[in-house]
């Protein structure tokens, strides 16, 4: 299959002289795209899958952006902001694709700003408060980034082969970015674990903070299982991701935490819209402007 021109993310948009108050200001981000869906792919499931991967990136991007001006050093401010921006870029493309596949007229902005908490399908790992502030610290932020980017890199490496040309293109681009993110987190893990006794304690505690939410990454969801050849079954990724994490832990002299996973709520997890209380606060801040001043620009 040739991917040339398979994805036209952003076509000419009107109104680009206005600066964005929020969102992107594009009228039709997927205009001109090869909209053909692979034959036999269930539309509801493909929409949900794009939302799952898009929401993971959007929510973690928001969390990382919270560090801007508050990281331990200037270089790290810039690093976390760059990583957040990569994830935001991935989120835009995935939410645009979700809106297009769904066919109900929702664009990336509508999906990002006008959905309520229970409609978000991200894993709970990305939404918990890992600081700055009392909810966490830099070490837990690094621990989460290490786990998440290792997992997402494993997903995207396989998604490159997806029968959906848009998912495939997003993944091919994302693989390179996620590899940078993972290396960055791995190098900080070594630095913190190998620093002072205190920094090591904080790194150990950071891993313990995020570990209960790691299992959820690998639980196959009915949506993923309904899309053979299009989606990636995350239960198959555990050995590869564990190997990466064990390599980092080994080099850092850390042990893989032995902490029980956080239970689903009545059998439902983040992928089903059952979230921790942290997501509501995050969305309140992220969506405030768009909801109070619909269509605002300046």
């Amino acid at each position: 299959m040739s991917f040339d021109n398979a994805y036209e993310a952003i076509n000419d948009g009107a109104g680009e002289d206005a600066h964005w108050a929020f969102g992107t200001g594009f009228d039709d981000p997927l205009a001109g795209v090869d909209r053909a869906l692979p034959a036999g792919v269930p539309v509801a499931e493909l929409t949900a899958y794009c939302l799952m991967l898009g929401d993971d990136a959007l929510v973690l991007s928001q969390r990382l952006a919270e560090w801007c001006s508050r990281a331990p050093e200037l270089e790290e401010d810039v690093a976390l902001a760059n990583i957040a921006l990569d994830l935001l870029g991935q989120a835009r493309l995935l939410l645009s694709r979700a809106g297009e596949v769904e066919g109900a007229g929702r664009d990336e902005d509508t999906l990002a700003y006008l959905r309520d908490e229970h409609e978000f399908r991200n894993v709970r790992l990305v939404e918990i408060d890992c600081g700055p502030g009392p909810g966490g610290d830099f070490a837990s932020t690094i621990a989460r980034l290490l786990v998440f980017s290792s997992w997402r890199l494993a997903v995207f490496s396989r998604l490159v082969e997806s029968a959906d040309p848009v998912l495939s293109a997003v993944a091919a681009k994302g693989v390179k970015e996620l590899a940078y993110h993972r290396d960055h987190a791995a190098q900080w893990t070594l630095r913190l674990a190998g620093g002072t006794e205190y920094s090591r304690e904080r790194m150990v505690a950071g891993l313990a903070r995020v570990w209960p939410l790691v299992g959820e990454l690998f639980d196959p969801h009915p949506v993923e299982l309904a899309l053979p050849g299009v989606a990636v079954d995350p239960s198959l990724l555990r050995p590869e991701v564990d190997q990466v994490l064990d390599t980092v832990f080994g080099a850092a002299g850390l042990h893989r935490p032995e902490i029980a996973p956080l239970s689903p709520v009545a059998g439902r997890t983040g992928r089903d819209g059952a979230h921790t209380e942290a997501l509501g606060y995050l969305l309140a801040e992220m969506q405030y402007l768009a909801r109070s001043l619909p269509g605002a620009s300046w």
């Binding site: 040339d4 398979a6 994805y7 993310a9 990569d86 490496s157 970015e177 960055h184």
Partner: protein
Amino acid sequence: MTARAVAEGVLDPELPVLTLAELGVLREVIESDDRVVVTITPTYSGCPAIEEMRRDLRTALTEAGYRDVEVRTVLAPAWTTDWISESGRRKLLEHGIAPPARVGPRPAGPVPLNLVPPPARVPCPRCGSAETTELSRFSATACKALRRCESCREPFEHVKEL
């Protein structure tokens, strides 16, 4: 001027020493009558400069007399720093920015983990010394890392390999 020549002359907003053509983001220029369709590809998924590029291309082509200009963005195949042309690399160096090394196609299998920044021979763009150290993988723009020369002690930017 042909539409292609106009499009090829547009500068990158973040590395304004390079044209979009030299950066390798200009993928296709199709001209028919007074209609032009330009295709570009972003460097990074979240690259905010893509909007500037689209606007600059449209402005340049409109000013050159093309009335119907469309700028499309494609994601695949993904941009790589290998697409930065020889003249682009030379211009970067002339402006004190170290160009990326050639990376070639990605080998099959899992992406290797780098527990330490991979050894990179990035000569200093000022004095040519090979003794340079990475200060930060991330810099003012997503595509550049920050390094320092151990000989002349000057910091410099490096377009990192992607």
